[in-house]
């Protein structure tokens, strides 16, 4: 009886939290932002959704179908790739590099190419939805497939079984919690990818309606669409979570691994990993680039080959001028991107800790967190810009928001992976919650945090370029937007190349840090 009452009051507190948020929003929209045509009150949004329900339902049908197909295809690709990487470790470097490079390609460059390849139809929308999910699934999945006690693998080996048995019997089950966590992130991301795909020329869908609403000063319409987009994202997130609960009835196996003393690597192997492997990856990627474009006979006018970029940036007569223009823009971008990246990571990790300590806060705040991530950036950017200004702060905010949500989900999951025995041990000493957090949970969270930190590198770069294109009009994002409107595709592909190199370098830096830290806290992740 008392327990029920406690539950009841907790529920009421959650509802009260929601209600007060909505009321604050209504008041803010009606009075503070009344005549600004930027924020709509919830009542007006609900009225608009009811009024235009048939229209929105049809648009939603199109966009959800695109997103669903992209979600399935992108995640399947990620699963296949992750299984390959873990089964055949030598290909990991190359696979990681290719996966990263494809994820780094900016939409302004790929959009027109996808449209030319597919012609009219759903092709670009589905592809962009798939592209926006595969990487965030691939990276944690590799972590998950490795989150296995070495003794279990030893057991498999002692029975004379090979990697296949290890994969199906041990790794496949160990990775499930990681898979579910990444599919949760993938659900809103696929929807956002489909919306962005509609910007490459579509006749229906939520993305198309959003553009129409924004251009016609239809603020209620814009916010109605943003609300629908968030609702879909939250439902997708919740559905995956629910499916995960159904599947993993037993708790995931706990990991208690003592730092194994590894045999020192042979010198030539070290040299190979440090020098030859990156060079090999570069060569393969350049070859793929050339072969892909030649194979599809893409016009050299807009589909520039590696040789074109080389001539434009290095060999050509104007190369120095081109380089200085590009690097000036890049410098402008990088400062804010790094700050936004750190802010987003920090915010995600801290919020995860807060949620873990105070589950009541999580109930109120997590829908807001999902919504922030899933509302198309074109809808939120004006509001962010109004609040934070058009300068670097606005851009920093956009970058931080784009990466904080995946970090939050990943870290939350990591915090909950803390082995039960460890928690029992702390409990038996009546360790205060904060001690438990810092000494038990945070170390358990580290693999997830680093996986998120790595994924966040390309995401931060992408978010920064989008913010520059839409809001600040500075840096390399703006340069890319300018070049595509003046058909300067040489500069566009040069920007793409340099940005990719920057992302890969940032990624490598985080990975290096990760090796250092994890070889102490989670040695099973370090190969």
């Amino acid at each position: 009886m008392i327990r029920q009452q406690v539950l009841l009051t907790e529920q009421m507190r959650t509802y009260a939290g929601f209600a007060s948020l909505l009321i604050a929003w209504e008041l803010l929209a009606r009075f503070a932002f009344g005549q600004l045509y930027i924020l709509s009150p919830p009542t007006a949004i609900v009225m608009r959704i009811i009024e235009d329900l048939p229209l929105y339902t049809r648009a939603l049908g199109a966009t959800v179908s695109e997103a669903l197909l992209g979600f399935v295809l992108g995640n399947l690709a990620a699963i296949v790739l992750a299984v390959l990487v873990v089964t055949i470790p030598p290909i990991e470097r190359l696979a990681q590099a290719i996966a990263l490079v494809v994820f780094c390609l900016p939409l302004v460059a790929t959009g027109p190419i996808l449209r030319v390849i597919y012609g009219p139809g759903w092709g670009p929308q589905i592809t962009l939805a798939a592209l926006s999910v595969y990487y965030t699934t691939f990276v944690p999945l590799v972590v998950g497939l490795r989150a296995v006690p070495p003794s279990w693998l030893d057991l498999i080996a002692s029975y004379g079984r090979g990697r296949l048995t290890a994969m199906t019997v041990v790794r496949a089950r160990a990775c499930l919690p990681y898979l579910i966590a990444s599919l949760k992130i993938a659900a809103p991301a696929a929807f956002l990818g489909a919306i962005v795909g509609e910007f490459t020329g579509a006749d229906r869908g939520i993305g198309v309606l959003s553009i129409q609403a924004m251009r016609s000063l239809d603020v209620d319409g814009t916010w109605a669409l943003a609300t629908i987009a968030s609702a879909v994202a939250i439902i997708g997130y919740a559905l995956v979570g629910w499916a995960g609960q159904l599947l993993s009835i037993g708790a995931p196996p706990s990991l208690l691994v003592s730092p194994a003393s590894k045999a020192p690597k042979v010198l030539w192997k070290k040299l190979f990993m440090a020098v030859a492997a990156p060079i090999l990856s570069c060569v393969v990627i350049l070859l793929l680039w050339q072969v892909f474009m030649d194979g599809l006979e893409l016009s050299r006018f807009f589909a520039k080959r590696p040789g074109d970029v080389w001539a434009y940036l290095v060999a050509g007569s104007q190369a120095a001028a081109h380089r200085s223009e590009l690097f000036a823009a890049l410098r402008e971008t990088m400062g804010t991107t790094v700050l936004g990246y750190l802010a987003g990571l920090g915010l995600g990790a801290v919020l995860a800790a807060v949620f873990c300590m105070l589950p009541a806060v999580e109930k109120i705040a997590s829908p807001v967190a999902i919504a922030l991530r899933s509302i198309p950036i074109v809808a939120t950017a004006p509001l962010l810009v109004l609040v934070l200004g058009r300068g670097q702060l606005g851009m920093l905010g956009i970058v931080a928001i784009m990466i904080f949500f995946p970090t939050l989900v990943s870290c939350l999951h990591g915090l909950r992976q803390t082995p039960g025995q460890v928690i029992d041990y702390f409990d038996s000493y009546q360790a205060p919650p904060l001690t438990q957090l810092f000494l038990a949970r945070v170390p358990a969270m580290l693999p997830s945090l680093f996986a998120a930190a790595r994924m966040a590198v390309p995401m931060a770069v992408l978010a920064a370029t989008v913010a520059e294109w839409l809001a600040t009009g500075t840096g390399i994002g703006n340069l890319m937007a300018l070049t595509s409107s003046t058909s300067n595709y040489n500069m566009l592909w040069s920007c793409v190349t340099i940005l990719t190199l920057v992302s890969v370098a940032g990624y490598a830096l985080v990975a290096m840090l990760e090796r250092r830290v994890l070889s102490h806290f989670a040695p099973e992740q370090v190969i």
Binding site: Y37, I38, I49, G123, T200, S487
Partner: protein
């Protein structure tokens, strides 16, 4: 909101539909052999392309043995790659974009000009109006940074120092003006100002074309290769297009009705479309088109364009324009 239940049949249907759409490009690739052609529009469907939708509706293209697909554009769907790659036979873009593409190696010809007057305008509020280029001094203007050369050309044409104007990067959205973040906006006469009017916000517009800015807009481009090898199809396509636009000028309200009915999934507002349809006529009809017909241009208008494009930093030759298709049609 009520969602349909997820059944196995529905899921399979969805997957099959998606798979079908993935293989769809093959259909368009093979369609090149018969008389099916793609026509790449520059933006999302609206009365901006009312004449093209009318041409399709009244069946002029079908009569000429053409199966025309009108491809919609969007914020990230540039026209030039589509035409250059041969995906589309015909595309709509503006003279400045076309000349920039040519400078980068494209082989385009402008074969007709839909908007005789460039649609770029400066919109402001009546309390703080911009009625002439001189009024821009000391103002904050909201615009896409990509459009800076346009403002620079206007300033050069009217002896205004561009450094005395503060450029604020905005999206293509009227909200920054209405909310007072900027004093004026660089936009098309036919969309944001109409959107503001329909939302009950009075506004003042100044058309750049009335102050010396001569750049043909909504121009029809084809590649040199297509002009040589697919001439008959281009003539038929343009003849149908002209018939469509003449039907449009005869009854702009009917064109608005058609577009709204044809694209129920776009949420277009009929009244807004009617106002836009009527306002657009002023940009497309001139003494020149009254005399020679829709799409016409002369050596003089081309020379004016070359002069303005020069101010935009583009060296353009008169060869970019090719009137032979129009001459053949109007013959």
């Amino acid at each position: 909101m009520k969602f349909p239940p997820i059944t196995r049949r529905a899921t399979l249907g969805l997957l099959a539909g998606g798979a079908a759409s993935l293989v769809a490009p093959a259909r368009f690739a093979s369609a090149q052999t018969n008389s099916a052609v793609n026509f790449q529009l520059s933006w999302l469907p609206s009365v901006q392309f009312g004449g093209s939708y009318l041409a399709e509706e009244i069946g002029v293209w079908a009569e000429k043995g053409l199966d025309v697909s009108l491809l919609s554009g969007g914020p990230n769907a540039p026209v030039e790659p589509s035409v250059m790659a041969g995906t589309s036979l015909l595309g709509i873009t503006a003279a400045d974009y076309a000349s920039a593409a040519v400078a980068e190696g494209a082989t385009f010809k402008i074969i007709a000009v839909a908007m005789q007057k460039n649609p770029f305008a400066i919109a402001s509020l009546p309390g703080n109006p911009v009625n002439s280029p001189a009024d821009l001094v000391g103002k904050k203007i909201g615009m896409a940074v990509a459009n800076t050369p346009i403002l620079a050309a206007l300033c050069a044409l009217n002896d205004v120092d561009i450094n005395e104007i503060e450029i604020v990067p905005t999206q293509y959205d009227p909200a920054p003006l209405v909310s007072g973040q900027v004093d004026c906006l660089l936009c098309w006469l036919t969309d944001l100002p109409i959107a503001m009017t329909m939302a009950g916000v009075d506004n003042v517009t100044m058309l750049l074309a009335d102050h010396g800015y001569a750049v043909h807009s909504q121009t029809y481009i084809v590649t040199e290769d297509a002009l040589a090898n697919q001439r008959d199809e281009i003539v038929a396509l343009m003849a149908g297009e002209i018939a469509g636009w003449n039907a449009y000028f005869a009854d702009t309200e009917a064109a608005a009705d058609l577009v709204v009915a044809k694209f129920p999934d776009l949420g277009l507002d009929l009244e807004t479309q009617k106002v836009q349809a009527a306002k657009q006529v002023d940009l497309m009809v001139s003494p020149l088109t009254e005399e020679f017909g829709f799409g016409w241009f002369t050596d003089e208008t081309v020379a004016d364009n070359i002069a303005t494009l020069g101010l935009l930093g583009r060296e353009v030759s008169a060869d970019l324009w090719d009137r032979s298709i129009l001459e053949e049609i109007y013959g």
